[in-house]
């Protein structure tokens, strides 16, 4: 069973996702070539990584490829992760998001993105009850934080991050001046950051 590997992370139970401190330690072990740690890392983060990549790319086959590439890069670059700069999860998701965006921009074929996106919402049925509860809890926390943004800020941020559009494209899509999308994204992110109490230092 996949989740057995989580028991290798000392303070993680079999059902709870490892917290930020654990992931940082897991990455440290990956940096030394610890394949068990890498498996634990995959198990702890793959739903977030794959889900994000799939949301941006839409095409399931390409999303699998990019997810693989992301984890290979995480494995290769593990020694370069700097905890002073941010959380381990954010580091991994930054790699994933950048690769997903690079893939869609490289392809630049609108037909790939117009393909039917079959699973548009978080499908929690595949996971254990505890994981589902955890996922719902975290998602709830983020949704509450997003509620503190203006609707236009939230819209701009979701189009940019989850849609993978540039701020210029977002401006066109929302029919606002070029600078407006850029400002909404920045102001909204600052609000989101402060509401969620993000600190990287």
């Amino acid at each position: 069973m996949e989740r057995d590997h989580l028991s290798l992370v000392p303070s993680a139970t079999s059902a709870a996702a490892p917290d930020a401190t654990d992931l940082s330690a897991v990455i440290k072990r990956c940096a030394k070539g610890d394949h068990d740690a890498f498996a634990a890392l995959y198990d702890a983060t793959s739903a977030k990584v794959y889900g994000l990549v799939l949301r941006v790319i839409r095409d399931a086959a390409q999303a699998e490829e990019v997810t693989q590439e992301c984890y290979f890069e995480v494995w290769r670059q593990a020694s370069r992760y700097d905890p002073d700069r941010g959380s381990a999860l954010a580091w991994i998701l930054t790699i994933a998001h950048r690769r997903a965006v690079d893939r869609i921009r490289a392809v630049e074929a609108s037909d790939r993105r117009d393909r039917t996106y079959e699973r548009t919402i978080n499908v929690e049925g595949h996971d254990s009850t505890a994981e589902v509860a955890e996922a719902r809890l975290e998602a709830q926390r983020v949704r509450s934080a997003l509620d503190s943004l203006t609707p236009t800020q939230r819209e701009a941020i979701e189009l940019a991050y989850l849609g993978g559009y540039t701020h210029s494209e977002v401006a066109l899509m929302l029919e606002v001046p070029l600078g407006t999308a850029k400002t909404r994204i920045r102001d909204g992110l600052i609000r989101l950051r402060d509401t969620m109490g993000v600190t990287t230092r």
């Binding site: 799939l54 699998e64 693989q68 998701l93 940019a160 559009y165 701020h167 920045r186 989101l192 990287t200």
Partner: protein, 235 residues
Amino acid sequence: MTADIHALSGAYALDAVDPQERAEFERHLAGCPSCQAEVDSLREAGAALAELSTQTPPAHLREEVLSGARQIRPLPPKVLPIGQKRGWRRAGVLLAAAAVALGLVLVAYPRLNSQSGDRLAAVAAIQHAPDASATEQKLANGASVIWYRSASLDRTAVVVKNMPAPASGRVYELWLQNSAAQMVPAGFLPTGGSASAVLKSSTPDAKGAGITVEPAGGSPSPTSLPLSVVAFKAT
């Protein structure tokens, strides 16, 4: 356009920029530690959005990822000749210990090969400043490094000898430490062997300086621990 560039930090943090904007903003980031800190925190906030899209991947992907990683060699952390601990950017104690200010104006300096006359003149100007200080270091790789600092000119120069040539695709990047204890790009050593450079940065009143090995073209912030680091004595 300068006023606009900071406003791009949010879009950049979300990868919502085109290649030209990305390159321009990264050039800006190299000299703006507050933007780098902001980008880091906004990236953190952006990553939280991934909670909204979680999706268990197909089961077969797990084995593909795990077995694929077995054919990939994790990069090692950089090997450090002077044995610095991580977090050196904010290791004030370490920097203070490294500063052995000789407080002398040097009249003579080692003859240098393959340097432009302008660079030599610029280095000499710092060495000859009335308040110039010199800090000499011997590195484990056999190189010697002398840091020259003039607070009145607000300039720093470095002179190295017997520096091993950087590995292929690598450069020796120079850094200045600003008042927020962040290392800001300040140019490159032109070669290995004997070389000198005046550190260039828009950071005023730098608190220290350092040298790291970076990929060719340089990095906006150090990706490895330094070969050499110096703290400037407070004036």
